[in-house]
Symmetry: D2
């Protein structure tokens, strides 16, 4: 539901067009320097405004309202809030009858019996990833020197981002992408099989990020075509360094000290300017839908800091768990 | 760690060469007909003995030792145990110094400080999936008419299984595979975003299955190369039926009533007869390792019933949760 | 830690002298009418200002910042925040060296390694019960027609509250009290043994309330002196009505439909104006401590709405769980 | 439900007259010496056969079926099973229509819709405390040098046990009792407020023990009649030693290093030989019920090792959690 973790635990709340989005982090060790400033860089990396993202911008100023005293974490829950300021007057009520293809409009309407906040995606909005990024900056401090770094491998099938964006602009359509996340300086021993394998933990959080539809570790799907003698990573020294890294740094669900490596796929943004068909539940007819406004053409561009954040959150919790016993 | 779920909860235990493997299922509704016989078919589908799997066979007889009375579940926890009978006298102690490539030998040694049961993979053994299959047969009853069905799409890069196995036999090597899971008769509304999206829940359990290294829903990684206008599934009637199913039956982390569709990749079996190099932590040298005995050439062949089981377990829990509010 | 519950789940945050205190409620069914106004009555009942409580008053205005749309719950997490406005300039830094007897000053200092927010009790402050009361008003709506009602049985050993308060005033000392909670219209079947018995669930939350040091259900400690033939409650009709209610409405950890009955003891307020001894960790000497300011003489007076709140929260969660299977 | 704990986690299963009762312990650190022999002393202390307890005896032999290798815990889940051997042929089916006063017969029938195993109390049987005692012996090793010790303060109102039992025998009735638990060598800092205070954690588990109806820490209910200046425990040295121990060794929900002290009340055994009235749901009449067989006259006599066990389990989990951050 809306919290995750065993020791380092996050609880997320808020809606796109409500008063705010925010997150509470429980189980954070006391004594960690933490202030609003520490979040700004990652928040900025997530921001829209670049080519291929929506021109709408919000200040995205974090406000720590609990759990930090004299500039350091206290051991009590840390709540971070972002006021929603740039609320558009746009009318979203149509989505209840005319669900937008690829959106959660239809499933939310059914699951929450019509009571969901449908404005701008409500609680399903990508805006909630802002809260993830905020919590991630704290998690990053805890897991040092482990350091997740995510980068875009391709968008819309193009390995050159510029080219992909131009293609999208030209076609008045959205595109997806593939992001790789790499964590250097991995500790050995993180991951709690049987059920809380490192892959399980990371994928659980990764699939909370809207628009992610796949994840693979190390050689991933490619390994289906390889033989065991090729896929098995040979250990070459007493630190456990392996010659290859087809496992993505994980054996038996536990980190082996080599780089953690995984890729995710981000589907093309659901909101497109292009006309689409959808079912009108009021009229009982399939009809044409044109979503107004300007949209992210490639939401994948904004995913890297979010991916780093959830990876850091997963590692922070597993690190604290590993210290317990 | 070793349990999963919020209402329908499973706790797994046991080792490959200990006394037994087993599982406890808590939160199961009372009044469901359940007996050892109900498990035999799926257990049999998971069994080795077919071409490409190890010739070693165990009877795999389930024993329900609690939670069932007069042939029906009582509401109390259901514990199912499988005695380990076919224990090989083989000496496994070498793996502590000479970890097998691709196995959990090295990571388990470090994480559990040398106290892990290293015989036959111990608690990391694929034998624990037997317990998952057992719990899955009960979950399947709860989620009816939803019905997961998993099938092999390719092994070792061959879409013809026979061909793949022959290739492996000929090369004295192991191969991986890709399995697809499809669930028909899906209910609308399963999945608990923000963090317990349907994808999150399924992937969490899927990555508990040894050797799984990737998962993708619907068009998955392929969608990175597609445009939004192609990926968005158009709703065509008042049941929410969509023309295409690129989302794999999930929008916003919630089932939309269309078939749930996802694929997983199974890496090639780590244990191969072929000689491999590995590091000897005692001698401090890289040395040649030849793993004796006969192994599964393609563990992917045994994964479909396990995949159905974990999918059923995930859906059973989400179904019960959805009834709560 | 700082959250509780399986389906209806609360996460609490904030400090006495920080920016705010608040609570997030997850797992609340959609469609429940809820606004700030609904909380005012219980918040008012908890307020200080009456004889025997501190004259300091805060406006205690709740602000719902997520999870409610068009006046109704949406199914998304509901966060309620109270700004801290009446912050006293008083210096609390002395408590790190000179812990106040009966307070958490010493244990918090050690547990959180000196990083805790020590001002006014920080995260341990009774002010956090304001957040519990807020969440309780929502829980009360969910559990209707079940209706918890708490009342004071005695303070300082006096069954007449006036008399007890006068005794405290006269002696310049604080007093404790005993509160009874009764829930009418109980449903049959709430409570999830083995571990989540109704008594377990309620006591878990009850002992979160600062200053509570004991709880007893039904005849409680008195039943140690009784015989089974007296304690056993005889069922007298097909609704399960019992002639007596020594069990407090609970058999085997499950509600039996009769009134739920339990009592708690509230110890005397730790903060007293009277001079006390304590250890000065800086000087290494026992010294006299006089805590300035005006304090609650009898915090028990403010506990009834808090007790109703946690009882409602426990029942709301157990009710939703009971619907799941 | 049927598991408890965050890191050191227990899952209980089994019924009085089923095949077995057992428990799985997850999250136990590796490398702890543990064998069946280690459990025998506490199991023996819980046994019946002494005056005032039922003459029926079972061998109660524990069988560790997973998680221990070469005599030490491995880090994998430890499952301990007790076969039920002394199954009485007695017919219990009457309890579905004629619920025994004070038992869970009525509530279980309603909650589990008639599917519960009603024989000998089924999953509600005191026999499950055998599994708690087993897990407790392992927990005791983890928490050393902390050492819980429980003793009987009074039975049936008599501080002399012999006298109490004679009273019960003479009156052909059952009696209750009060047990005190004391933990010496307490560490400072255990307990995780806000919700997982040390009192919350212990009381949660304590109320899982059948027949417990009240718990009080330190001066408990007595403190309602005392003043703050008397109840506040004065710290007298730099270890945090207090002059008195009215708090039971807990401030703000966190252990303060002084002895942990609490008392519980055990109600008189529900099963009595004496004739009682109850409602016959078939005939719709109140009728006389005489429960055959020989019963515990004072179940309190068997509670001390169970109380030590759950206290140890609570402390083990809180100790491991405290190491995490």
């Amino acid at each position: 539901m809306n919290n995750f973790g065993r020791i380092f635990r996050i609880s997320i709340f808020g809606e796109s067009h409500g008063k705010s989005v925010g997150i509470t982090i429980d189980g954070c060790p006391p004594g960690i320097k933490f202030s609003e400033k520490d979040m700004l860089e990652d928040i900025s990396r997530r921001k829209s405004g670049k080519k291929g993202t929506t021109p709408r911008r919000e200040p995205d100023l974090p406000d720590i309202i609990s759990g930090v005293f004299n500039g350091k974490t206290t051991g009590a829950p840390i709540t971070i809030i972002f006021q929603n300021q740039n609320l558009r007057s746009k009318d979203y009520s149509f989505v209840k009858d005319i669900p937008r293809p690829g959106h959660a409009d239809f499933t939310a309407e059914r699951k929450y019996k019509g009571f969901q906040d449908y404005r701008g995606g409500g609680h399903f909005s990508g805006r909630l990833t802002l809260a993830l990024v905020a919590a991630g900056t704290l998690a990053k401090k805890i897991i040092k020197p482990m350091a997740p770094s995510a980068s875009i491998l391709e968008v819309g099938g193009f390995t050159n981002i510029e080219e992909g964006i131009e293609y999208a602009v030209k076609n008045n359509d959205s595109i997806g992408g593939i992001i790789e996340c790499r964590v250097e300086n991995m500790l050995i021993g993180l991951g709690e099989p049987f059920f809380d394998s490192l892959e399980s933990y990371i994928s659980h959080l990764v699939f909370s990020i809207p628009a992610i539809k796949g994840v693979e570790f190390g050689s991933g799907f490619e390994s289906a075509k390889m033989t065991g003698s090729k896929v098995n990573d040979v250990i070459i020294d007493d630190k456990g360094t392996t010659k290859t890294n087809n496992s993505g740094g994980i054996n038996g669900g536990i980190s082996n000290g080599n780089n953690l490596l995984f890729k995710v796929v981000v589907k093309p943004t659901s909101s497109i300017s292009k006309s689409q068909n959808t079912y009108n539940f009021k009229s009982g007819q399939i009809e044409e839908l044109k979503i107004k406004g300007r949209h992210d053409l490639c939401i994948a561009l904004r995913v890297p800091p979010v991916l780093e954040a959830v990876t850091s959150i997963a590692l922070a919790d597993l690190l604290l768990i590993s210290r317990a016993y």
